[in-house]
């Protein structure tokens, strides 16, 4: 059994197989109290699957997923569709999976800026408003661990900044761990302690570079956003080709890319802010993202 100082949730070389295909494999990941872990990766890279393993919704086909005993979870799924036949107001939505003190519900709704919609039915909310309602519901539970699957999708840019600020504030206030899936491949929350890049396996992990350090990004995002957003710069030594094969830095091409093959680079800390990778292009040549569409650019 895990001790209180242990991670809230720990995945150890966990993978999910469906009809002979590995959706994701060899994932090592842990989230501790007060820690924000961000998952990034292209579509179909297994981000949501990994989150569901961490939540216990999916049982890993190999490896293990261990959660702390009595862990209180607040989950914001990627999407929920609420049928017309369901009369569900925002206020009632707050206590969907457990009793919530009215004061906590009100505070959560005020913090996310949906207080004025509390008597509205959730199906009538816009996409961004519904995301806020889901986030409010997760917060109102006062969870030990929040799992947020693209929590800012459909939210406009300034709203995105304020929701990221809110997530950080909640983390600071109640000291929960946060497992966050980013909808953006490169831009993550500045408060992120650890970024894990997935593409069917863990490609690389490290800490993000604060936008504030880079004048160019500061200009791009604006002064307020640059305090909240960060950039995760990553180069890979292999590229996933359109046909599923993998081209490596040395030019060789193999059928598959397994986590235990040692293809993926694993620099200490993967922190690009302090040093430069000689031989690597420091621009965002994320081979996996473009590789899926057939236009892969190799870093080599």
């Amino acid at each position: 059994m895990l001790q209180p100082t242990d991670p809230l949730v720990q995945l150890t070389s966990a993978g999910i197989e469906r009809s002979g295909r590995w959706l994701v494999r060899g994932v090592d990941l842990s989230v501790r109290s007060g820690e924000i872990v961000t998952l990034i990766g292209p579509n179909g890279s297994g981000k949501s699957t990994t989150a569901k393993m961490a939540l216990g919704v999916l049982k890993p086909s190999e490896g293990s997923a261990v959660r702390r005993e009595g862990l209180r979870v607040g989950y914001v799924p990627q999407k929920i569709s609420v049928d017309w036949t369901l009369p569900l107001t925002v206020a009632r939505f707050m206590s969907l999976t457990g009793k919530v003190a009215p004061a906590d519900a009100v505070r959560a709704m005020e913090a996310t800026g949906i207080m004025h919609h509390q008597h509205a039915e959730v199906r009538n909310l816009s996409g961004g408003e519904f995301q806020r309602a889901m986030l409010a519901r997760a917060i109102a539970r006062k969870p030990d661990l929040m799992v947020l699957d693209e929590p800012v999708q459909g939210v406009d840019f300034s709203g995105e900044i304020s929701l990221y600020d809110l997530i950080k504030r909640i983390r600071d206030e109640i000291g929960c761990g946060v497992l966050l899936i980013s909808h953006d491949l490169h831009v993550v929350m500045a408060a992120t302690d650890k970024v894990i890049c997935l593409n069917g396996h863990v490609c690389c992990q490290g800490t993000p570079t604060a936008v504030a350090e880079s004048a160019a990004y500061k200009q791009l995002f604006g002064p307020r956003a640059s305090a909240t957003l960060a950039v995760y710069e990553h180069d890979h030594d292999h590229t996933h080709l359109a046909d599923g094969r993998v081209r490596h830095a040395d030019g060789s091409i193999t059928e598959h890319c397994h986590p235990d093959d040692g293809h993926h680079h694993d620099h200490a800390g993967h922190d690009h802010s302090g040093h430069d990778h000689s031989g690597h292009d420091r621009s965002h040549s994320h081979g996996h993202a473009s590789g899926n569409t057939g236009g892969g650019v190799s870093n080599a």
């Binding site: 569901k52 939540l55 216990g56 919704v57 862990l71 209180r72 979870v73 607040g74 989950y75 799924p77 929920i80 609420v82 049928d83 036949t85 369901l86 009369p87 569900l88 107001t89 009632r92 969907l96 999976t97 457990g98 509390q118 008597h119 039915e121 539970r141 799992v147």
Partner: protein, 278 residues
């Protein structure tokens, strides 16, 4: 008071509406309308089994309905066919099996119409006791599993992730449905049970602004339909079971008028008023 057949019919009907309302809401929310049909058809197989093995009809109907529910859950896990295809498969095969078994017992002449449409005017005091006793027991269990069942209705994974046990709640819900089909079959008959589950709940939707509220309004709708239907059947000497359903249909049609939206709006503004004062 219970000496009057009409009073007994009203009591039995209202007892059924009380339990059908909240269950019917879940049927509507989960798009399981065809599940009610499937269970009703399975009930016919239950009737056939009861005659074949000389056992109590209600018990046999419950056993067969529960078996079909469990079969559905197990087949859904396999996930080779979609739910509606599975429901169709179970529905038609249990109906056909029931008819085959019934027709094989050539010495038996039973009134199929009676089981299809029921006879609420012939319920005994014991029937009323069973309906209310069984109905309240079903409601008590439903209250216990309400939160996980409702959370799973909104989103199964969310409920599971946050430490609920939606599979157990779903399974209990299926058994409750089988129980209700078994105890109410004699009153409205198998074909009309589905109607009593769905129509009052559907009629309640536009008046409701919360799930619990919708369940209570569905009960009131069902009870009103029973009263109106039985009254009309006495007045104009029509069949009582179908008359109840027609009355429920009338209420549903009323719910489509602006009246329902107007009533719901009043409640929302009432609910909003105290919040605005804060």
């Amino acid at each position: 008071m219970l000496d009057d057949y009409f009073t007994r019919a009203i009591l039995a009907g209202i007892g059924m509406a009380v339990v059908a309302g909240p269950l019917g809401c879940f049927i509507v929310w989960r798009r399981l309308a065809y599940f009610g049909d499937t269970l009703s058809h399975a009930a016919l197989l239950g009737v056939a089994m009861a005659f074949l093995f000389q056992i109590n009809v209600t018990l046999a109907v419950f056993v067969v309905s529960a078996a079909v529910s469990v079969a559905l859950v197990l087949l859904q896990r396999r996930a080779t066919l979609s739910s509606d295809a599975l429901l169709g498969l179970l529905s038609h095969s249990s109906l056909a099996l029931g008819l085959v078994v019934l027709s094989s017992m050539t010495w038996l002449r039973i009134d199929l119409m009676g089981f299809l449409f029921g006879d609420i005017l012939s319920v005994s005091r014991l029937d009323i006791g069973i309906i209310w006793g069984g109905g309240l027991a079903v409601l008590a269990v439903l209250v216990l599993i309400w939160r996980p069942l409702f959370a799973a209705t909104v989103n199964q994974e969310l409920a599971e992730a946050e430490g609920m046990n939606p599979d157990r709640a779903n399974f209990i819900f299926m058994l409750l449905m089988a129980t209700v089909i078994a105890i109410s079959m004699k009153i409205v008959g198998v074909l009309l049970i589905t109607a009593m589950l769905i129509i009052p709940a559907a009629a309640a939707r536009r008046f409701a602004c919360g799930p619990e509220q919708m369940a209570i309004i569905a009960i009131l709708m069902g009870a009103t339909s029973v009263g109106l239907g039985l009254g009309a059947s006495r007045e104009w000497d029509t069949q009582s079971g179908p008359a109840i359903v027609v009355a429920a249909l009338g209420l549903f049609l009323i719910s489509l008028t602006p009246l329902a939206a107007w009533l719901a709006n009043i409640r929302i503004s009432k609910a909003a008023a105290p919040a605005a004062r804060e």
